[in-house]
Structures are given as C-alpha cells and as structure tokens.
C-alpha cells in the first residue's frame, strides 16, 4: 500500500494559546514495500507527521491517504514508539497480543501469531517476562513484535532506536533490515540520525526546522541487502553529506534559538 502525504500542514496552540506552525505544506509519497526515512533537526515536526499518518492527530490542512487494497482485518498502520510504550502490567506475550485483541480473532490464534513474531524478533524464552525485567533493546523488540503482529499495511517507526545505546542501536538496525527483507513491509521511519536514515532507507525525506517543510527527497543508491561495509561506499558518504549540508544550518539555528 502507498502512503500519500499531500500538502499537509499542522498548526497547534502552545500553552499560552499562541498558534505554533509545526509543519507547512509537506508533500511526499511512500511507495508499496518501500522504506522511507524522514530526517530533520529536532523540533521539525517529524513525530507530528508520523502521528498524523497513524490517525492520532488530525492535520490542520492537506490530506493523508492510503492507496491500494487493504485486506479485511488488517489495520492500515501500526506504530513503534521511541519510548517503547509497553504496558508494564503485561508480559511480553500479552504486550505483543495487544493489537491482535482489537481485531477480534480467537485466543488460540492470537497466541500463535504472537509467538511467531516473538520468535521473529528474537524474544523467544522471554514470553513471561515483564517489560521492566528487559533491557532497552529487548523492550523495543517487543514494540516491533507488537506492531508487526497485527500485520499492518504500513509500519510507522518513531525514532525507534534513539533511546538505545550505540552498540544496541547498530544491532537493532541490522535486525530490523533483516526482518524487513523477509516481510517487505512499507515502512515510514522517523529519525534524527542521518547515518541511520541513509543506511536503512530507499529514500530520505529531509525536513527543515519548524515549521517543517520538505527541503529535499534524497534517493539512496545502495544495494540490498545492506552490509556494514557499505558505510564506506561513496554513495553512502555522498548521501550523508548531501543531507547534512541541508540540515546543518537549520540545526545550528535551532541550537541558537534554544540557547536564547
């Protein structure tokens, strides 16, 4: 399924009631089975954009639509959250079953589906653990398993690995790509990490600082499956440089604004 983001703007009121423009006229598409990353300096409205695609936040103007057949019982989207958003009172198994409960299948089938994605994400043996008993990396595996279990047409990922340490993040990126090779989901991936975006994505949407506008859409000319060694290839470095050049001045302005 394709995601069509068409001239989307978002204005919300801050605590004092003043209007704040978070996004202005954002347009791009995510093709079926494509992995698109959205990068931008902090406060560029990346997460706002993702929440709007998830239907958790209405756009102020413009439209977001899905194109393509959606089999019954499958949700259009499922989200992986930066802060994991696991239910502390549910075991790993029950957390993964959360989304399946809403689609209303029989309990036995639910268990089986959850088990499949628990195994796929390398959580086998941890079914009965509670989130607080797991490391950050393991917790986000639960978040990914929970999202994949409902078999969404589009997987939305909101800085899924930014709360993890650098080594764990690298490993999780590789695992996510491996899972993606197998499942071929359409993925919209929000991150502030340019290397991560380039290494994982087919195309990178670069947003400006607030209000977020599309500065450029950069295609990544790297073969799949992606290998660690590709990080030294000219195509990788050029893409990183091109995106960093776009973001650099924006990030600096954001930094100075934050200091003032």
């Amino acid at each position: 399924m394709r995601v069509l983001v068409d001239d989307v703007s978002k204005v919300y009121a801050d605590r004092g009631g003043h209007p704040v423009e978070a996004l202005a006229g954002v347009t791009f598409t995510v093709e079926a089975e494509e992995l698109v990353a959205v990068v931008g300096p902090s406060g560029c409205g990346k997460s706002t954009l993702l929440n709007m695609v998830a239907g958790l936040l209405p756009p102020s103007a413009g439209s977001i639509a899905f194109e393509g057949a959606l089999p019954p019982g499958r949700p259009p989207t499922a989200m992986v959250f930066q802060e994991f958003a696991l239910f502390p009172w549910r075991t790993v198994q029950a957390n993964v079953e959360l989304g399946l409960e809403e689609t209303g299948g029989p309990a036995g089938e639910r268990h089986a589906v959850a088990r499949r994605f628990i195994d796929l994400t390398g959580l086998g043996g941890f079914e009965r653990k509670y989130p607080h008993q797991l490391s950050g990396g393991m917790r986000q595996r639960v978040g990914i398993a929970r999202a994949l279990a409902v078999d969404p047409a589009v997987l939305l990922m909101d800085e899924p690995f930014s709360a993890l340490d650098a080594q764990t993040r690298q490993l999780m990126q590789e695992e996510l790509l491996a899972i993606w090779e197998r499942t071929r989901k359409t993925i919209l991936y929000v991150t502030h990490n340019i290397h991560e975006a380039v290494w994982m994505a087919d195309r990178v949407v670069v947003l400006s600082r607030r209000p977020g506008r599309v500065l450029d859409i950069v295609p990544i000319e790297l073969k799949r499956p992606r290998m660690e060694a590709m990080a030294a290839e000219p195509a990788f470095l050029q893409a990183v440089e091109r995106i960093w050049a776009l973001i650099k001045s924006q990030a600096r302005e954001a930094l100075q604004e934050g200091a003032a």
Partner: protein, 264 residues
C-alpha cells in the same frame, strides 16, 4: 610513596535490618506490662495483665461470646467496606474518564468529603433505623471517599503515551479504560483500600459504641460500664488483630493483582 586505601564513605548511611530488635521491642513491652501488673502498683481494675487478658479471651472464645461479637462486626465491616469500595471505584473511574462526570462529581466530592462521617450516623439512624443498615451505611461512606478520590487520581495518572499506543492499535474508549486506565489506577486503588480498611475499623467501633447491642465496639463499651477491664482489653486486642489481618490480606491481594510489581 604512601598508599591511601579508598574508604567506603557510604558506610555511615547504611541501614541494617535488625531482625532481633524487631521482636525484642514488642516482647519487652509485653514483659514490662506483665511485670507492672504483678508488682501490684497498678490495680488490675485499671490495667489487667497480658496473661489475664489472654485467659479472658480464651474463656470468651469457649462460651461463644467472642464469636458472636466478632461475626457481627465482621459482617458489618465486610458489607460496608465492600459496597463502599465498589461504589468508590465506579465513581472514581467515571469521574476520571468522562469530563461531564468530572464537572459534576468533583465539586460534589470536594464539598462532602471533609464531613467527618461519624457525624452522619445520627442522620443515618433516622433514615435507616437503628439496625444494621445505618452501621453498614456509615462504614460505606467512610470507605467510599478515599476509594473514589484515589481511583480518580490513579485514572488521571494513566500514561498518555500508553493511551496513545492503545488507540493506535485500535482500542476504543472501553478498551482504553479496561486495558490502560484501570491497570494504571490499581496501585492507587490498593492504597485507597488500605486507607479505607483503617477508616472502616474506626467507624465500626464508633457506630457500635453509639447504637448497638453486639459487636466489638459494644463489647468494649459494655465491659467498661460493668468495670470488666479485662474484657475491655480483649476487645482492644481483637481490634488490633483485625487491623493487622485486614492489612495483611490486602498486601497479599495486592501481590496477586499486581504481579508486575512483585517480580523485581
């Protein structure tokens, strides 16, 4: 070169368990009490000895007197506590979830909560009669308020991120209440239950002293009227045991209901 070993600077702050002291303190109190009564400095009419209280308790157990009072009190407290807790949780959830219920309920609760519930007993007796209903009702009211307020607070403290996550996975309003808000409120609900258990014991005794012919409160007041101080002390010890038992029960229940907190 001189070597300087790094000292453990936190040692002064360490808190040890002192298991023996725990038991010893309690034991010393009882022994001192027994000793004081044996010397005869204090007449048994004012302070009966612990062993005497124990003997009287055993005797009252034998004649069935204790069982009657205990059963009557237990029935009142279980009924009042149960109804109050149920009502409090229901109202707390409603006020926490629905903005209309919050608009109506919050000022109402704020206005009625500060009334000492025992002050309502005469009115309740007028309305419900001097029998069981008024006693159960006053306990119910006493438990209702901490339960409603705690449940409301617990529901409002539910993590917005988890609510968003549940909604993103297709949860409707009832699903969000059942899967996010109620589990989030459970620790606060249990705190309310423990608070309510103490309150209900207090109100039970007060109500039974004002208007009753059975129950532990009646037993204590009646023993005082008859100058049977030993029986009076049996009643007090019984109340203490009842308080301990209800707390122990609630702690156990909490462990079962909140398994994610028990497992470290």
């Amino acid at each position: 070169m001189t070597r300087l070993a790094v000292p453990d600077r936190t040692r002064a702050l360490a808190r040890r368990e002192h298991r023996v002291a725990r038991v010893l303190g309690l034991l010393a109190l009882v022994v001192a009490w027994e000793a004081v009564t044996r010397t005869g400095w204090v007449p048994a009419l004012f302070l009966p000895s612990p062993l005497g209280v124990l003997a009287a308790g055993a005797e009252m157990l034998g004649t069935g007197e204790l069982a009657v009072h205990l059963a009557t009190s237990l029935r009142r407290i279980v009924l009042g506590f149960g109804l109050g807790a149920l009502g409090g949780v229901s109202v707390g959830v409603a006020v926490g979830v629905f903005s209309l219920a919050e608009a109506i309920g919050n000022p109402l609760i704020a206005a009625t909560f500060p009334i000492p519930k025992i002050a309502l007993l005469p009115l309740l007796i007028l309305w419900l009669g001097i029998g069981e209903a008024s006693k159960v009702a006053v306990i119910m009211l006493g438990v209702f308020f901490p339960m409603a307020i705690n449940t409301y607070t617990g529901v409002r403290q539910a993590d917005p991120l988890l609510i968003r996550a549940a909604v993103s996975f297709g949860a409707g309003r009832w699903s969000v209440i059942r899967k996010v808000m109620l589990p989030s409120a459970l620790p606060m609900i249990f705190a309310g239950l423990k608070l309510g258990a103490g309150t209900s014991l207090l109100l039970l005794v007060a109500a039974e002293m004002i208007a009753a012919n059975s129950g532990i409160g009646f037993l204590i007041l009646n023993a005082q009227n008859l100058m049977e101080t030993t029986k009076l002390m049996v009643g007090i010890v019984l109340l203490s045991l009842l308080g301990l038992a209800s707390h122990w029960l609630l702690v156990r229940l909490e462990r079962v209901a909140l398994p994610w907190r028990a497992q470290a």
